[in-house]
Amino acid sequence: MPVLATKLFIPQLRPHAVPRPRLIEKLNEGLRSGRKLTLVAAPAGFGKTTLLSEWIADAQHRDPALMVAWLSLDESDNEPSRFLAYLLSAVNHADPTLGVEAPSDQPTGMTATLTTLINEFSQASQHILLVLDDFQFIEDPSLLGAVVFLLDHLPAKLHLVIISRSDPLLPVARLRAGGELTELRAADLRFTPDEAATFLNQMMHLGLSSAEITALETRTEGWIAGLQLAALSLRERTDVSGFIQGFTGSNRFVIDYLVEEVLQRQPAHIRDFLLHTAILDRLSGPLCDAVTELTGSSEILASLERDNLFVVPLDDRRQWYRYHHLFADMLRARLAGDGPALPARLHTLASVWLEQNGLAEDAVTHALAAADFERAARLIELAVPMVRQSRQDATLLRWLTLLPRDVITRHPVLGVYYAWSSLVSGDLQAAQSRLVDAEHALAATTADGAPAHDSVLSEELRTLPVTIAVYRAALAQARGDVGAMREHASQALDLTQPGDHLGRGAAAGFLGLASWAAGDLDDGVRAFGEVQTSLRLAGNLADALGTTIPSADMLISQGRLRQARRAYEQAVRLAGEQGDPPPLSTGDLHVGLSELLRELGDLPAASEHLATSEALGDRSNSRENRYRWYVAMARIRQAEGHPDVAIDLLGEAERHYLRGFFPEVRPIPAMKARVWIAQGRLNEALAWADEHGLSAGAESAAVDLSYLREFDHLTLARLLIAQLKTPEALRLLDRLLDAAETGRRSTTEILILQALAHGAHGDTALALAPLARALAQAEPEGYVRLFVDEGAAMAALLREAATRGIAPNYVRRLLRDIRPTDGRPGGIQTLTEPLSERELHVLRLLASELSGPDIARELYISLNTLRTHTKHIFTKLEVNSRPAAVRRADSLGLL
């Protein structure tokens, strides 16, 4: 995005400004006492900006190291990405050593970038003033939220100044109550009689009597713009008292009276110049020449500045100016009063010049103001690639809403873009109908066979049919219609021309997603391979590397861990070779690799990759994959024996999860349920099952066992096993096994659960068959956590397998990672009524060779008390003999 330097220009101290020590002292006091915010809120013409430039000069005189970042806002800054880009430019402009970078190719969260900024500022050695001028334009809630965030986390050295014509939509009252606000309002800013006297007599040399000064001060109520206009009218006037009498005796609105006076005193050509150029937000000599269709505008602007006629320079070189807002409004109102034809003509002249001089955005604004919609549509079409690249979607959308519908319909390129905007904002119906309109417009021809639409011939137009089909696939995805998604994506692929790598990549991507969601993992992996190739050919390495993530997810579902690991390692290596800054997906790749390494049992390396991803920062982690970091961390913490921490992290993952990017094959609520089951918190797990329509009976043939629900169903199987509902669990697992085999997916986890189900039922012999199969297919791929996470119950089965000579080396490796406490608390809680600490102690002694009286002695209790404990234990374990209790406790992993 081109940054206009004029917006970062700190207004210079005006030569004839009245010194205002009482206000400067108030501002300095605010800075000294470390208040967070200075708010200067007053209508136009109260000298807000002038006061601030005087204060800055004064403050920099006192503290030469003080840095000042200034940002003049306007209506178009009401867009997060644009605002942020300018904010960072202003800060970097003030201190180039900070070097905070704007997120370039991805809409990173505002807070993320602000956090970077805040961290940079907290290390700064000098004080920084950040001034946001004309803040009244900012109304976007996310922008206002960002400013609140900044205020809440404001580093000590940073001070925020907001200049606004109206009170900003910020929690001003809270800051005021907390003593964190310095406020200057109209009542503070208006000229006191003394200041009015200084201005009129010392600055403007008018030599007025004190009565005359009082009369002017009273009539204008100390309003500085009014006094300034009065002074301009009085200059070179002989009949001073006549003017003052006329002015104070009139009840006309102050500036109506005074502007009339001032304009009347200008030569005709200057008056016309002022009126005609008032339509411009920024004025330069050449631009004014174009609008007035005259020459010599640069000289006129310079003389206006000299004469103090309400032009404000916007740079040091006097190339760009603007009129004072109030004056511009006055002039525009006068111009509008003479009918719409002249303003429209002036806007068109401005638009033409701006287009020729590469100021595309302003050219569009003026074409729209001229109601020259054809011109506007053409300019917008040309600006689409630029605006989209800088992600100013809101700007584009604002323009499109100003165009009449028939103009958009005649420009299919705009119609398709409009459809995309609707899709992103969730208005699927509007998106659909706009795509239909665009398609009709594209297909229509005139009598002689030429296209009937008005879109300019461009790359965008040439590839539009592909774009439409791709957006249709996106629409289908948003509706959850996998079949239609696949259909439109295939159509898009058929329509692509050779060399349209981006089009091919997008189409193959949707095909891949459709296959993935349907569980056709071979097709999915193949499709994403093609996406990767196409994106690399299109020169988009960051997104090409990003395709490793869906590919690896599918490979892992197929049990191909080694291949997934190779893919990640290769991608991480390639990303690392790209230098600084690393490609966008680098952080995501480290997270993926971390998850794989965790499964392979290397927790330290897995943690390290998460740390690397975190250190890379938000710019290297895409928004849609951010939740994965929390998932990966949760599972590491769980493996380390901290299930409660894991639950918290999964909650965090839920907050970062963005629906609609990838099929939800591993729902976070189910992951939480798995932790609860392992902890024995079956009530929570049962509530989860209820909420997701999963209850006993899911094993019945009528229930949908598609790939998308496999994770849920495997979680349900764990719950059934924990509830000792062995037959139900086994029936469900049998059907899941069939489905997985048909879909050519990994069956290892299902076999493990079959073994556990039998084991929980005490059927060790039956458990060993599926366990042996699971071990045989898991060993070559190096699975560890899939077994180890099942804790003591799995350990018992593995030991049994080893004694029978089943994969003894592999089993030894697995047993090494099962800590003795694993699964124990879970075991207790799978009982309807959990055992107390005391009862557990008794139970462990029952498993020993000790006799009853020996145990009682050991515990310093009577034999009767021991009998009471034992009875409770038997009831809770649903057994009626000591050997049965010991067997049952063993199978539950309680010993």
């Binding site: 209508p43 009840n251 509008a336």
Partner: protein, 87 residues
């Protein structure tokens, strides 16, 4: 529900507003203020009268008034002919 203050939702083309401002504004401001009629009061105030499409238009208008630094005295919605605001 009966006593709760309710936002009037009259049909858009029937809403008219009267905005009173301090000072006498020139007639030419009418175009600037979205086609409002200006009338000068004997008390040195100006009343803007005109139709407002919706609340957003009204707030835009108020902002224009604020930008000029004119003092706002009062603002009234004038009732449509049938006098019923809620239907």
């Amino acid at each position: 529900m009966s006593d709760a203050p309710r936002m009037p939702h009259p049909p858009a083309d029937l809403v008219s507003y009267e905005i009173r401002l301090q000072g006498r504004l020139d007639d030419r401001w009418g175009t600037w203020f979205d086609g409002f009629q200006l009338s000068a009061g004997s008390d040195g105030t100006t009343t803007l009268t005109g139709p407002v499409t919706d609340q957003a238009a009204l707030h835009g208008l108020l902002r224009r008034i604020g930008d000029l630094g004119v003092t706002l005295i009062s603002i009234n919605a004038t009732l449509p002919s049938n006098g019923d605001f809620d239907e």
